[in-house]
């Protein structure tokens, strides 16, 4: 976040995508500076609360916002808290299972959408798009009603099913994007060299789209482990996930333990997202094994 404004001062010439300053884009220096300053403030707005939360998780003070010294004790306390440990376990089970299912189902759908023209392609796209755009609360309400009508007891499986439902589209979208930038001649070459469709898929197609699949999987894992709204409707007794546990702790009151567990979850998802981003950016390169 280091001041983007600086670089403008040192480079008097307009530098952007284009070498020469297009007249009319942002002709005046003060305009560019003002925009840079505005951007800096927005970045501070986006990151300050997160950094404050992380800082507080190391603060000795229990009640106040004053800094009373550095401590790891709140993290230590977490390890003794059975409720938190149990909710972590549940979250990992849910996210792991949902990721596994979404990766397979979503990749298959992406292959169909990216490869073939077929009847019902439009509706299929709409179907995969809807779970993302329908308000989460509506989805939660609809699912808990459905489970009730079907007489399915709310437990960890109802959580897993609903997580698969709202995450599968992300894999489909990410993998499809990867397929779009895919050199079809490689597959044709494999076929010409005598490989069957199955062999071609596993030896050529799959390795090439693998970064997309992994990125999609990481996103699903992140979305699943972060979800509160839908989970709060469909989780039965004993299926409390980490966000549900955090939420109930927040409702009781702000404590350093909440800060610590929130920081851990935040950093965990941060790492996942950065890895996913990297995988999505790289074009087909770096021979994945086989």
């Amino acid at each position: 976040m280091s001041e983007p404004t600086q670089s403008i001062e040192t480079t008097p010439q307009f530098v952007g995508k284009h070498e020469v300053a297009p007249r009319g884009a942002a002709p005046f220096r003060w305009e560019r500076k003002a925009m840079g300053l505005h951007s800096l403030i927005v970045y501070i707005f986006l990151y300050a609360p997160i950094l404050i939360l992380i800082a507080f998780s190391f603060n000795e003070a229990r009640q106040t916002a004053r800094w009373e010294g550095f401590t790891f004790q709140w993290y230590g306390r977490l390890m003794e808290n059975k409720l938190i440990l149990n909710s972590m376990k549940n979250s990992l089970i849910v996210a792991g299972t949902a990721t596994f299912a979404c990766t397979i189902i979503g990749t298959l759908a992406a292959l169909a959408l990216g490869r073939y023209e077929f009847k019902g392609k439009g509706p299929t796209q709409a179907l995969l798009f809807l779970p993302i755009i329908i308000p989460e609360i509506v989805l939660g309400v609809a699912m808990v009603t459905f489970f009730g009508i079907m007489q399915m007891r709310l437990n960890i499986w109802t959580v897993i099913i609903s997580h698969i439902v709202f995450s599968v589209s992300y894999v489909a979208i990410v993998v499809r994007a990867r397929l779009a930038g895919f050199d079809r001649s490689l597959e044709e070459a494999a076929m010409d060299l005598g490989a069957g469709p199955v062999q071609t898929f596993f030896r050529v197609t799959l390795p090439l789209i693998l970064p997309g699949i992994i990125a999609g999987a990481l996103l699903v894992f992140t979305i699943s482990i972060d979800d509160y709204v839908i989970t709060s409707f469909v989780a039965g007794a004993g299926a409390t996930t980490l966000p549900l546990q955090i939420y109930s702790m927040i409702k009781v009151g702000v404590t350093p333990e909440v800060n610590a567990i929130s920081t851990l979850l935040l950093l965990f998802t941060l790492v996942m997202i950065i890895v996913a981003q990297r995988l999505q950016q790289q074009p087909s390169d770096k021979g994945e094994r086989k």
């Binding site: 997160i50 939360l53 916002a65 759908a109 023209e117 077929f118 597959e187 929130s262």
Partner: protein
């Protein structure tokens, strides 16, 4: 590929079958059931009241009871608040986001671009709940803002910063901002800068170039951003539950209450369906607009 279209159609159907099975049973069916239940009545124990005579039930107009109840004056302030807060969030996000998207796409040095963009994307994916909670640390009575203000001697008494509509607005804007910046960036990035040059050569000052060239050219991003911010804002309930007080209840909280405290699922389903209808109408309007403009929808 050398496949005949018939063959490839079959392959495609096999590939999409799991998605249809999953989403058909656990997504479409629940939505349909919710819709049907919204015409039902609450039973004694919070379940559904069995209907003995379907025809009489329909002809008496009872099946619309939940929808009539949802229009009761009691709930109007909640809808009104949900709408104006969503509108205000959308407008403020647009005003805040346009300059930063412009900066990243056009003004910033090329080598900074990826980093600046990544810094917007990261909060987009991290826990909404935790990011909302972080504001509680700042705004609560013993929170950071009050501590700092007291220390500086600017106030004598802690201010009530949390549990009001302002706090909810801050939380909404904070949560939805990346949803606006990203589509704006995507369309500004595609903007043909020679058009701006042409406009300027033809004698337009940069103010009118902005309003008459840049804004119309980036309209797809603006509209996509509006849709992407408005929809989650109007269905929000975590932010208002954590940062708002009893007086800042939104339609999301109203729905949630029907399923937890009030135990009136048919009524909750009716409001949830109304919310869904609003969202779908908005999306259809968006699709219609994109088609009319001959542009591919960004969503």
């Amino acid at each position: 590929m050398s496949d005949t279209s018939n063959h490839s159609g079959k392959t495609a159907r096999v590939l999409i079958a799991p998605s249809w099975l999953l989403l058909g049973i656990f997504f479409l069916l629940p939505l349909i059931i919710m819709f049907v239940i919204s015409f039902g009545m609450r039973g004694t124990y919070g379940g559904l009241k069995p209907i003995t005579d379907l025809w009489a039930y329909i002809s008496s107009g009872d099946f619309l009871a939940n929808y009539r109840q949802s229009l009761d004056g009691l709930y109007l302030p909640i809808y009104w608040r949900s709408v104006w807060m969503a509108v205000a969030t959308t407008v403020l996000c647009l005003v805040i986001s346009y300059p930063i998207a412009y900066y990243i796409a056009i003004v910033a040095p090329a080598r900074w671009k990826n980093l600046l963009l990544a810094l917007v994307v990261v909060p987009f994916w991290t826990s909404f709940l935790i990011r909302t909670y972080a504001w509680m640390l700042i705004l609560r009575t013993e929170g950071l803002a009050n501590t700092v203000l007291l220390q500086l001697g600017l106030i004598n008494q802690p201010l009530d910063l949390l549990y009001n509509e302002l706090a909810v607005m801050i939380g909404l804007i904070y949560g939805e901002l990346p949803f606006m910046i990203l589509p704006l960036y995507a369309s500004l990035e595609k903007l043909d800068l020679t058009l701006l040059e042409a406009s300027s050569d033809l004698g337009a000052n940069h103010f009118s170039t902005f309003w008459r060239v840049t804004v119309p050219m980036t309209m797809p991003g603006i509209v996509a951003g509006i849709v992407l911010v408005f929809i989650p804002s109007i269905g929000q309930f975590v932010v208002s539950d954590l940062l708002g007080g009893a007086k800042s209840m939104l339609v999301g909280n109203l729905i949630q209450n029907q399923f937890s405290i009030a135990r009136n699922k048919p009524f909750g389903s009716a409001i949830a369906f109304e919310l869904t209808a609003v969202v779908l109408v908005l999306l259809m309007a968006y699709a219609w607009w994109s088609k009319k403009k001959g542009q591919e929808a960004m969503l």
